[in-house]
Assembly symmetry: C2
Amino acid sequence: MDTSASTIAAATAPNGINGTVNGHTHKEKVTIVGSGNWGSAIASIAAKNTLRHSKQFDPEVIMWIFEEDYEGKPLSQVINETHENPRYLPGIHLGDNVIAQPNMEEALKDATALIFVLPHQFLRGVLKQLKGKVNENARAVSLIKGVDVQGHMIKTFPALISEELGISCSSLSGANIANEVAQEKFSESTLGVPAPEGFTDDVNHLPDAMLWKPLFDTKTFRINVVPDVEGVGLCGALKNIVAVAAGFVDGLDWGSNAKAAIMRIGMNEVKDFCLEYFPTTQAATFLEESCGIADIITSSLGGRNRQVAEAMVKRGKTFHELEPEMLKGQKLQGPQTALDVHEFLLTKGTKRPNGYPLFEAVWKICYEDAKPETLIDNL
Amino acid sequence: MDTSASTIAAATAPNGINGTVNGHTHKEKVTIVGSGNWGSAIASIAAKNTLRHSKQFDPEVIMWIFEEDYEGKPLSQVINETHENPRYLPGIHLGDNVIAQPNMEEALKDATALIFVLPHQFLRGVLKQLKGKVNENARAVSLIKGVDVQGHMIKTFPALISEELGISCSSLSGANIANEVAQEKFSESTLGVPAPEGFTDDVNHLPDAMLWKPLFDTKTFRINVVPDVEGVGLCGALKNIVAVAAGFVDGLDWGSNAKAAIMRIGMNEVKDFCLEYFPTTQAATFLEESCGIADIITSSLGGRNRQVAEAMVKRGKTFHELEPEMLKGQKLQGPQTALDVHEFLLTKGTKRPNGYPLFEAVWKICYEDAKPETLIDNL
Ligand SMILES: NC(=O)c1ccc[n+]([C@@H]2O[C@H](COP(=O)([O-])OP(=O)(O)OC[C@H]3O[C@@H](n4cnc5c(N)ncnc54)[C@H](O)[C@@H]3O)[C@@H](O)[C@H]2O)c1
Ligand SMILES: NC(=O)c1ccc[n+]([C@@H]2O[C@H](COP(=O)([O-])OP(=O)(O)OC[C@H]3O[C@@H](n4cnc5c(N)ncnc54)[C@H](O)[C@@H]3O)[C@@H](O)[C@H]2O)c1
């Protein structure tokens, strides 16, 4: 539960304007930490909304960029000249008010609204660089899918960011493919914001909702607010286990009844797992929101986890064998998450009489050479 | 709420055996009313289970058949000679203990477990024939998808059957394609049974659960019981509106984010509609069960409603124009259900501030020539 000074200031300030500094009302200043496919898509949305809500936001959107070369020039220079990120989101105009900035200290200067949107493996490194350099009245939101695993502990990224930087952190997740969002195809996302315990009023009036919703919500990218930061953060990791299971069903040619059954069972295990171990989470986040059921649906129909799992069955190979040829150097998240959950459950135990049989079956098929047909044995 | 003598007898009888008649313990006698694609698939399952649970059930499964000619012979004769229904479920052995019976009175004799599995338009006619001829200690289950609409009133089929015959009626519905179930591909279905108000014990011990679950549940066709007859009955009708909406999204090429969003929004409207107007229904039936979210998923990915709706957009035709060429004489249920719900809402009004915008948009696109793009305008 977040009750930091900054969020309370925001709550009482009119129009969601972020308090006053030296007697001057100042505007929210947005910095995006990450500039890949999703970071760039979000930059294009934020850049429209800072202009639209010009009383609340400084128009400039800073995008911190991990510098790299693009056709002989620094990528940041290319972006600032063309207002496009040709490496990670070609063909989309980012907005003239998006500024790529490779220097982290520069990027952070005056930032009050920090959007974290990096591949998860880079987050801890970046947080180390940021420590002590972030405005104390800043707030953050995590768009990163996955969870932080240290030993047998599972932590959400918003919790990690909040802990490391000492600021409030929300989370945004949904059935979102960056290119579709950037092309302004209709989609939805769920914003989880901190709420005082027992809060029952309109969630849109929560301080962090009043910051992030205006920054992200558009006619084609609809933001729904829930008072559940952890739940929104967890969905984006656990859905990958379900997507692997769905891929096995495809590989086995079990048909659409079975596929729908696995998605349903998977969604219920995600929900039950989170309710058992993350006491602030709420069932509705998983069952009713875009970050829950909708993201499970898209990931189980498209997506890499599903695809590799299908190939495991059809070609009789392990995911270790398929990763290099199918993913060009990227790592598959579903099996790893199944392993993390398996080890977590070994340590923690479970009160559920039947445990989490779908999660466990996915782990066993990926890591213990169990036959894919065993997927349903203990359901 | 069912508290008829028969269900109470069953509840107290050992092993779920259906009471005693003239001092003799007698077994449940199963009659299936309907012998099409789904009726035949269910016959093959029931026939296995009456043998498996031979203490509880008479082995013979009677299948009432609307007689027709099949290659010069009565279909009932073909079925009884070959133990297959070549017209509606070719290639599946029904079980030697399935007996096709074209005479309704014969089919009903001694029946205590009546399974209704006809296309909905034939139900009222059949119920008229059955009135007064059904054992008073019989129980029924409806596998019929759809709702009964008289004027502006919407009634579920289990409620109609119960009223017309004066017996208890459960409902069974799920993400079930008859051919996949008959081929023993993994699938699930939801059984809604009557429960006393405030019931909190194990639903599997409810009298009607103890009758129907053993008759339907197999290793590959998993039955989950919920104490919500109406909810299970309603899902199978309302999901067709969602499937039409999903078809529009496909026609518009809006991509997978939008498709998942529409399924999610649709599921929530189904739930909210049922909770508003059918007070015995429970949110979990829609959100967590096969008859709810899983059936919405399969119908929105495959199925006729989706397919015709996609063609409406891509070919710029009305569903009236497409029905004859795409459905070979069958009627599309989604648009009709959207119309039924629209008229129902006009009469009843709604307490929801925003109404049911997805349902209404589907109605408007199907019947008022609204542009498919307007689907999301009021969401
Ligand atoms: N792409 C999508 O459609 C999408 C949608 C929703 C959520 N997400 C999530 O958003 C997050 C970011 O995904 P993405 O698709 O934008 O990633 P991406 O693979 O497109 O981006 C890679 C980014 O990482 C940067 N990078 C490379 N090495 C680095 C280092 N050592 N330190 C810091 N940064 C480094 C690159 O410069 C680049 O900006 C992920 O958690 C992802 O799951 C992605
Ligand atoms: N087929 C499936 O995969 C499936 C799955 C789940 C639920 N259902 C539902 O089950 C119900 C039955 O569907 P189905 O697919 O078995 O139908 P079907 O179209 O295969 O069956 C048609 C049946 O209707 C009978 N019939 C024809 N005229 C009749 C009349 N005048 N009076 C009485 N009966 C007549 C035919 O003899 C035949 O048995 C429907 O409500 C359907 O939505 C079907």
